[in-house]
């Protein structure tokens, strides 16, 4: 029990003193996972609207694939991306292994199916007459997409939260393609693992608390927006 109190005390000490470069690690976590979520949202809207609005052979298969992707094990994603990005791998010339960019790529692979799945489900659940009505009012394809997305913005926000949650909490992929380099690719989850393996539990607990607070704040902001929207 002492350990937990020590950890909590240590958490506040670390946050107040600004040492351990904990803020830097937190900012990097948000940046990497936020970027992956942003890219995932773009991909998710494209692919999600494609499979939600179009009838084509293999549509059910496409849905199943996306749903499978929602549960991709991060460590498998990490291994595959690492093999591709290693110098000895097919894209080794890009020299991306052990960079934040590699982590954004890996987290995008993890978050994109989640965002796509939520998006496709949200769009499919819109009133079926909405689209024909918009077409009837003379909307162009692009206008149509925009209006439909606007209509589905609340579930889309849930997609963003789920995607961000998946990205920021994974560790296997970040460790493998990022290498947990101090000041370069160390994020909250890999920092916690390192501290635990060093037997430094207090900073590990501190970092975990900060990670939780981080996820909470992001979700609080998004949920607040969602609620305001719903109330109006």
């Amino acid at each position: 029990m002492d350990l937990i109190w020590d950890g909590i005390r240590e958490a506040f000490r670390i946050m107040a003193s600004g040492d351990y470069s904990v803020w830097e690690i937190a900012v990097r976590s948000i940046f990497v996972s936020g970027s992956a979520t942003a890219i995932s949202l773009l991909l998710g809207i494209m692919v999600g609207s494609l499979i939600a609005f179009n009838q084509f052979p293999g549509r059910n298969l496409a849905f199943s694939l996306v749903n499978t992707g929602m549960g991709l094990p991060p460590v498998v994603v990490g291994l595959i991306i690492a093999i591709i990005l290693w110098r000895s791998g097919p894209l080794g010339d890009l020299r991306l292994i052990y960079t934040p960019t590699a982590m954004v790529i890996a987290q995008t692979v993890i978050a994109a199916p989640i965002v796509t799945g939520f998006t496709a489900a949200a769009l499919r659940n819109l009133h079926p007459k909405l689209r024909s009505q918009l077409y009837g009012l003379g909307a162009s394809r692009l206008q149509m997409l925009w209006l439909v997305l606007w209509e589905a913005k609340l579930p889309l926000l849930a997609a963003v939260m789920a995607g961000f949650g998946g990205a920021i909490s994974e560790i296997g992929a970040s460790q493998m393609v990022g290498g947990n380099l101090a000041g370069d690719t160390r994020v909250m989850t890999t920092a916690v693992m390192l501290e635990v393996s060093r037997g430094e539990f207090a900073p590990a607990i501190a970092l975990s608390l900060i990670l939780l607070a981080l996820i909470f704040i992001v979700n609080l902001i998004l949920t607040t927006v969602q609620q305001q929207e719903r109330r109006s």
Partner: protein
Amino acid sequence: MRRWIWTGLLGVLAALAMLVAVGCGGGEEETATQTPQGEATPTPTAVVHGPKDVILATTTSTQDSGLLDVLEPLFEDQTGYNLKIIAVGTGAALAMGERGDADALLVHAPSSELPLVESGVAINRQLVMHNDFIIVGSEDDPADIEGMTSAADAFTTIYESGATFISRGDDSGTNKKEIEIWQDAGLDPAGQSWYEQSGQGMGATLQIANQKDAYTLTDRGTYLAQSENLDLVVLVEGDPVLFNVYHVMQVNPDKFDMVNGPGGAAFVDFMVSDATQDIIREFGVDKFGQPLFIPDAGKDEAEITPQ
């Protein structure tokens, strides 16, 4: 007002996406602007051309003990290179070298290192430092091995008593040494119910042994660095077989297009330099009253190996 919030959120996401794009380009720019800085340093190995990153594949013990945390900034300041430390087991580190996925290796399994040197994959192999392996366990010492002078005898006693033993099981240098000792004892613990493999680094394995009141083989450096968080005590030490020697080497740039030859050479030079050797000698003395590693650069391996 609400629209404003939505625009703001969209803007944040768009800005992040842009930052990623710029970030990739920015990295290259940084390389270009950093180069003159490298030239300005007086070190002969300063960066002049080529890639700025040096990938070091090394053992978990050098990271878990905290030594590399001290050395990394010094190396980067002295040479202008950006050191990327990938802490894995010695087996994985050597495999990275074999594929050309690392520029320099800092490892501790001489018998596995030599094939790489013979095949020409690793060059410029130099002695850096040593410490020793120790057998640690709970104070109760259920197998009663405390004070034994032969590691093989201690392992035999553990085998016969069936007390829990945690193996790294990850093909690391420590794991290779452990297997060597089992072989010396003429025993094969694989498959025994009391013999467990953690598959993790030295630090994590010590934590597991600590929680399970089990025996394990560890390098002294990692044990000392973590001793304040451990109830484990040193039970067996001093057997010549427990000698633990670290070598640094660079990956041959002639074998792989992308290997940073000058960067690897700079790291080898850095590790065996007088200044670095002095830091290794002092590292941990203030905290533990004894150094975690004993510097050996320039010595003959045969001369320091206990007989």
